[in-house]
Amino acid sequence: MRRIGVFICWCGANIAGTVDIEKVVEESKKIPGVAYAGEYRYMCSEIGQDMIRDTIIEQNLDRVVVAACSPRMHEPTFRRAAESAGLNPYLVQMANIREHCSWVHKDEEEATRKAVALVRTAVAKASRSVELFSQEIPVERRALVLGGGIAGIQAALDIADAGYEVDLVEKSPTIGGRMAQLDKTFPTLDCSACILTPKMVDASSHPNINLFTWSEVEQVEGYVGNFTVTIRKKARFVDEEKCTGCGDCFEKCPSKVDSEFDEGLVQRKAIYVPFPQAVPNVPVIDKENCRWFVKEKCRVCEKVCEAEAVDLEQEDELLEKRYGAVVVATGFDVLGLEEFGEFNYGKHPDIITSLEFERLVNASGPTGGKLLRPSNQEPPRNVVFVQCVGSRDKSRGKPYCSKICCMYTAKHTVLLKEKYPQSQAYVFYIDVRTGGKDFEEFHRRAVEENDAIYLRGQVGKVFPEGDKLLVEGVDSLSGKTVQIEADMVVLAAAMVPRTDAPEIARLLTLGTDAHSFFTEAHPKLRPVETHSAGVFLAGACQGPKDIPEAVAQASGSASKALGILSKETLLSDPCVSKVDESLCTGCLMCIDVCPYHAITEKTIEEKVHGEVVKRVVAEVNEAVCQGCGACSVACRPGAMNVKGFSNEQILAEVDAVCL
């Protein structure tokens, strides 16, 4: 007979308010195998933990059930308490009588009956639990950072400064990301490039950071502490060692195409450096638009390059690298506005997105920082800013708030007024949301000192009328429709994840929400971790964010990654799948359902009636397995069991709850 101890927690009034604790204690004592049942006001307190430890020793308990909160909260606490009494920590079982019971019921009798059933269930499971032991896994003490925007740069610098090697992989030809495109930053109006470029240079010159720009991750294998990653270093067609950055090649290049960095407002060449401060300052040839690659004519860049750095025969390189931890910082895109025909975006040059406005006011932008109407290169007088274009819009756009638009639009109105004191800004908004340090003050400055006119309402139509744009909207506070003759209309389009986010999620087995933002492990208490151990999130790939938040999250991710890299070995969670080879039929359904690629097939030899027979069975890589249990569900002969959650244990729970 087992000697199981049941410890019931009041959680102050959280549980005791709706559950009759005395009754639960009494009923628990009647369950076969229960040698002891007791209660305490706060079982997680030091006194409560001591009580568990002492009782295990005094009563000679061999299994423990703690009826308290969710195991997500305090399972580790109680496991430690049991361990201090010499019990294997995996012999502790929790019954969640708070979130699953007292918090969701009002009727005491009903709640008490359910609490008893939950205890009975946990006892049934505990009596079938076995000792489990963690394994030590060696750690590859290098980190991969995916994405070279401000979040990725910050994470890489933090990890590198702590003394570990980092590979920073960036898809585009330069690091810098979205922040490099911005003009000033709110609420201080620091010049974005002035604060960013030193960090870009730091990242490129740091002895612990290896930059892989114009590169993409192609394959990820392995698990926390031991990832093996294949990186495709796309052919740049320019030798990074030989190139002097003189710029002759793109001066002479005859092919022009819309500049991504300038949001299509101007054109770049087919061989190009995205912007003057690019890091590395080495051009790249865009194969799709290069005359040589399209028509096999030209090679002008090769001819003019005195350093002989242009190498049109260069090929993509595949690099295989090993890492202990990965930080994902792939950033955001701006929502396409095809669905929003009323704004006529794309049909008139003076109807632009906020990101295009950033380029138009930026000193390194197409107009050298003179804010001019793209249609006629004249200064604008009336500028209409439209907020929430695609944000907070369930029917055509995204239901969420993009968070940064209220602030950058306030900034745009201030910049407009600085450049043209005679100008007038109009802002159509749904709500103004300025939660953040010094944010509200900045917004008031836009309204009070810069006379921006804020109109609470939405715009129904924008169309050209003569050389102006007519904006028709509604001011819901006065209830009147408004018509404004504007010189320029700026649309605050919603923030969305990069289009390849689902692909990245697949490579790294990350969860995503309905909009393809990566999902954190817990929205409050594990905001930078993911459900894939060893993979962390930073910046807007996880949700709309401003610069300080992205940087803070990046440092958070870096410190989490360092938590792994600073150890020589990691302890694995023993609650992983195990194959009973005697039952396994080798159907290998488990391989298909495993989201972590933790299962492989292997051939075993058996003696059957004196003969040696070979057959195929499944094999679990315990270090990769996350214990999700999908294989166990798919396994027809019941050969797959998650340790700590075996089929036998689960069925015993079901039997017990049905009593």
Binding site: E339, F340, G341, E342, N344, S395, K461, F463, P464, E465, L470
Partner: protein, 273 residues
Amino acid sequence: MRYSYYPGCTLKTSAAVLEESALNAAKALGIELVEQEEWQCCGAVFPLATDEIASFLSSVRSLDAARSAGEKLVTICAACHHVIKRANHVIQSDGEVRDKVNNYLELDNYYSGQGEAIHYLEMLRDDLGFDKLAEQVKEPLTGRKIAAYYGCLLLRPAKVMQFDDAEDPSIMEDYLSALGATPVEYPYRTECCGVYLSVNNEEIAAGMVKKIINSARRSGAEAIVNACPLCHYNLLELQDKTPQGEPVLPVYYFTELLEEALGVKREVEEKTR
């Protein structure tokens, strides 16, 4: 090509010219539009009350009859099309209404929204194809600057009607191009015509019509086409008149130009327009 055809009341009375021209043009195109037997009024306005089923019955009868005949149901009047298409959507998506309507109608087969209602313009665009239509044009409307007016009933709600981009549609302009005309794009082509305000608050409706007409004229239009008897009435009756009492901008049903382009134009008495 053969279709079940649902005319609706207005096409038999004040908008007779819409039906006559549509059927005449269809004949010229070799399209057979077979008028449904014993069709009933669609109800004219899509009912927003969620607890009544009576206003769906007529639509469902017609949809089911077309389905039984193995044909798509073609409509010409924008209002009828709107009601029938939306009723079909309710039947497809609301199990309770679906059951009640079926119980009431006692059809031979349970109707769960399998029928397909398409507008005449959709028939031309999706089934015939505007490119094929263009091939059949005998007297192209070359040089004619025509403004298309959409109104709301064909376009909205966009997710249900699935007619075209509600904010930036192009089906009528593409249609006009197929007829050889020069479509005039103007900002107010999707604005509201004032609908029934012309009955009880004509001033407001007239203001709205004026915006549309002026916008089309400023963009260089010499005529305006539409697909809705109510829009047609408002645009024609509420716009400014010349000293001779003529409308400043002629208003046509889209099918009238089709007849003309196909070379089968009939003599129409002015008052039926």
